[in-house]
């Protein structure tokens, strides 16, 4: 599968999961849950919009990443931006729309003189997300450096950067034969051949 096709599929899945699904999911919740959440001061539509915007952004970055050669700075920047947007998405999700909580979410609900306060401490997952994004950024830089090395090898000396990128694109879009051609066996000698 070429990088372009992979990026299109990946962007489509990202769009489905982060943009289409959040708009559809609230209709699956029982109405009491939605009511309780709004009483607790949770801005459901605002949260869904934030997630959907992040989904569109991540899908665009995935496409940019897939359609630009690995050795181009655009690919590197798109890759880093994609990792950072994933971190923002994690912060938004864990904080139920409030990314400034950095993993600590507080919900308060007052029903008939009973004040119910819930505090979720999910800082560990924020720390893991930061570690993961840092590693992803380092990986993107390594991929970029590696691709640069390949394009600047002595075989490619004298070619312009644009020509090298075009070569890289052509190499990616080349279809490989599915099966190797069979070796042709020499024909069996016939009776007439023996004579």
């Amino acid at each position: 599968m070429s990088r372009k096709l992979g990026s299109v599929i990946s962007a489509a899945i990202t769009l489905m999961v982060f943009t289409v699904l959040p708009f559809y999911a609230p209709s699956l919740l029982p109405p009491e849950v939605g009511q309780a959440l709004s009483q607790a001061g949770f801005n459901q539509s605002g949260f869904i919009n934030q997630i959907a915007i992040m989904g569109v952004l991540m899908a665009i970055l995935t496409l940019v990443k897939g359609f630009s050669p690995e050795s181009s700075p655009i690919c590197l920047l798109a890759s880093i931006a994609s990792s950072v947007s994933m971190l923002v998405f994690t912060l938004l999700s864990l904080g139920l729309g409030d990314w400034e909580g950095l993993g600590i979410t507080t919900i308060s609900l007052n029903v008939q003189g009973v004040l119910n306060t819930v505090v979720l401490d999910l800082r560990l997952f924020v720390q893991l997300a930061v570690l993961s994004v840092a590693l992803q950024v380092m990986h993107s830089i390594l991929v970029f450096v590696d691709a640069r090395k390949r394009t600047s090898s002595p075989n490619n000396a004298g070619r312009t950067r644009e020509a090298l990128w075009q070569m890289e694109r052509d190499k990616e879009s080349t279809t490989h034969p599915v099966a190797q051609p069979r070796l042709m066996m020499p024909p069996r000698p016939t009776e007439s051949g023996r004579t």
Binding site: G113, V114, L115, N116, T117, V118, V119, L120, D121, L122, R123, L124, F125, L128, A129, L131, S132, L135, Q136, M138, H139, L142, V143, D146
Partner: protein, 154 residues
């Protein structure tokens, strides 16, 4: 090229372990929390001694952990006065291994003067019950605090 692939594998493993940890931790916490939230598992009763006027707030609960990880619990009861300060409070903590269930009982003795004040009409006092559930070596937590108004509203 090989180093890039090894690094990519490392990134994937970190992401996979993060997702697994999140799933297990949150599943455990919400399992224990749902056992505290069910009406049959928890009982809160207030008794006032007619002769002394002392109030006794008693919390009885049967807590169960049907999650895959062990959980640490801290349960507290308290009485809060008009100025949002604690009159008195009591707490206990316990550890529940995966699949384990334990009964918990805490009593809180409220002095007669404070008890009388809390029961006055229009007083903004509260009885407080808190459940602090933590798992993954206390790194992930869920705190539920219930404040029940004491005095009748004006």
């Amino acid at each position: 090229m090989r180093a890039v692939r090894v690094f990519g594998l490392l990134v994937f493993l970190v992401q996979l372990s993060s997702v697994l940890t999140f799933g297990l931790g949150v599943y455990t916490i919400f399992n224990v929390a749902s056992s505290t939230a069910s009406g049959d598992a928890i009982g809160l009763e207030l008794t006032i001694d007619r002769s002394t006027g002392i109030g006794i707030l008693r919390l009885l609960a049967t807590l169960r952990n049907i999650g895959p990880l062990g959980a640490d619990l801290a349960i507290g009861v308290g009485a809060i006065d008009n100025s949002s300060a604690y009159i008195t409070r009591n707490s206990t903590s316990l550890h529940l291994d995966a699949g384990e269930g334990k009964p918990v009982s805490i009593s809180l003795h409220i002095p007669a003067d404070s008890m009388r004040e809390l029961m006055l009409e229009g007083v903004e006092g509260y009885f407080e019950v808190t459940f602090d559930i933590r798992t993954l070596n206390k790194m992930v937590g869920f705190l539920n605090s219930l404040r029940i108004r004491t005095g009748e509203p004006r």
